[in-house]
């Protein structure tokens, strides 16, 4: 089982690197799909089947399809997409990414994040009536406010997209 974890992790990291190094945006997007698929496989290995299915359904099945759809419609020429790597905005994003990476490394290095075994572990979840039950009972009680706010956020995004796309009716 461990070898599956290492294999899928390595594949996820390798394809994530391919995402940012490929010049053709469609190839990049397809490697991103592969990354997401590997993450779903890791979720399966952690026995979080529901999260794995949703990961594939939402990210690989819907979001990435739309990404690729838009890239195909734009029909970008890879030769014209040679960009300057050392502009100011790009440097800012590189620095913030490095800072985040350093911070996460620091946190993982200094703390032992084993923690107490609570409700959220596979055995307890299976005893408590399955992943769906565990997930939805938390989602609709403890985290109800966050859940509803997220849905409003999505609604705002939809309305915004429609307004931007349809200036004249």
């Amino acid at each position: 089982m461990d070898w599956f974890v290492y294999g899928f992790s390595a594949l996820a990291i390798a394809s994530a690197i391919m995402v940012i190094t490929r010049r053709n945006p469609i190839i990049s997007a397809l490697y991103l799909c592969l990354t997401l698929f590997c993450l779903a496989a890791l979720f399966v290995l952690l026995e979080a089947y529901f999260i794995a299915a949703v990961q594939v359904l939402v990210y690989a099945g819907a979001v990435m399809v739309l990404f690729i759809f838009v890239i195909m419609l734009l029909n970008l020429d890879p030769e014209k997409m040679i960009v300057e790597y050392f502009q100011t905005p790009r440097m800012i994003s590189v620095i913030s990414a490095l800072l985040l990476f350093g911070f996460l490394t620091f946190v993982f290095w200094t703390n032992n994040i084993t923690g107490e075994r609570g409700y959220d572990f596979p055995v307890q979840i299976t005893q408590g009536g399955g992943h769906l039950k565990a997930m939805s009972s938390k989602l609709f009680t403890t985290f109800l406010l966050a859940f509803e706010v997220t849905s409003i956020l999505l609604l705002v995004a939809i309305v915004g997209a429609v307004v931007l796309a349809k200036r004249k009716v």
């Binding site: 190839i27 397809l30 359904l57 195909m72 992943h131 769906l132």
Partner: protein, 344 residues
Amino acid sequence: MESIPLSWQLIKISIILIMFISMAPLLVWFERRVAAFIQDRLGPNRVGPIGILQPVADGIKLIFKEEFFPALSNKVLYFLAPCISLFVSLFVFAVIPFAAPVEINGKILYPQVANLNIGMLYVLAISSLGVYGIMIGGWSSNNKYSLLGGLRASSQMISYELTMGMSVAAVVLFFGTFDLQKIVETQSGFHWGVIFQPVSFFLFLVAALAESNRVPFDLPEGETELVGGYHTEYGGMKFGGFLFAEYLNIVTLSGMMVTLFFGGYNGLEWFSNLVDASPVLNAVIQFSAFSIKTLLLLFFFVWVRWTYPRFRYDQIMRLGWKILLPISIGNLLVTAMLIYWGVF
């Protein structure tokens, strides 16, 4: 009770895989014969008895054709696209149960590849990947007709996936589980899903027609407008991969409809009782019930193809977003309210 050992599992998976794959050539032959019947012709009847070996001849021809790559295509993706299509359509079938679990020597045998407790979500998740094969195929051919076909396919499949998901959500709400084996068990004694969820069935049927890219939703390969759509540049067994994937998708969707709405493997209990069947014979009878219902639905798919003309593109989008999606959301709401009030 423990499940069967791994070696048996592999044998079981191989048997299911071979049976499932052989459905595709059979369905090609079936479709051509039914089409001929509908159009008052004879259809392929030369190769073997009633032409049943015709798909074998076609398959041999496809396999031995030259492997051709268009000059400016992306070779790797061009090759991968039919593989992805075929892979996805083979994977989805893994969770469909075609008989109740059988107990053999104290070990339990699930007559499906994997008995997942989120089976229904698995089907939706994997089948949502099917669009990649078509999109990548359309794009990597480096042909504008192929690209247009791929774009049409992706927008159409995304649109109708919503309707399909919503109609399935209502069914799942009604049965109270994502587990396909349990959904089928609940439907024993002719308490079929189609009786309690007729609107869901209708929505799922239309969405299934659209998802499988068949007439009247076959815009991605509309030959009068796009030469051949996303597989214009494909030939040989790479084209065969797309063809196989399309027919296997139809089989899977029919199997899904039988599982969700027509009682799955239920329906021939009276016969099992009549002959006082042993567990294994009972499984065979259940498998027959499942197969008969699936075949009837397959006939329906073929029948639709030779009955309706193709929609226009804007008509498909309007139907998907403005008619079917609101109906499916309303259906979900009504189902939820009926369950809350304890009607179901």
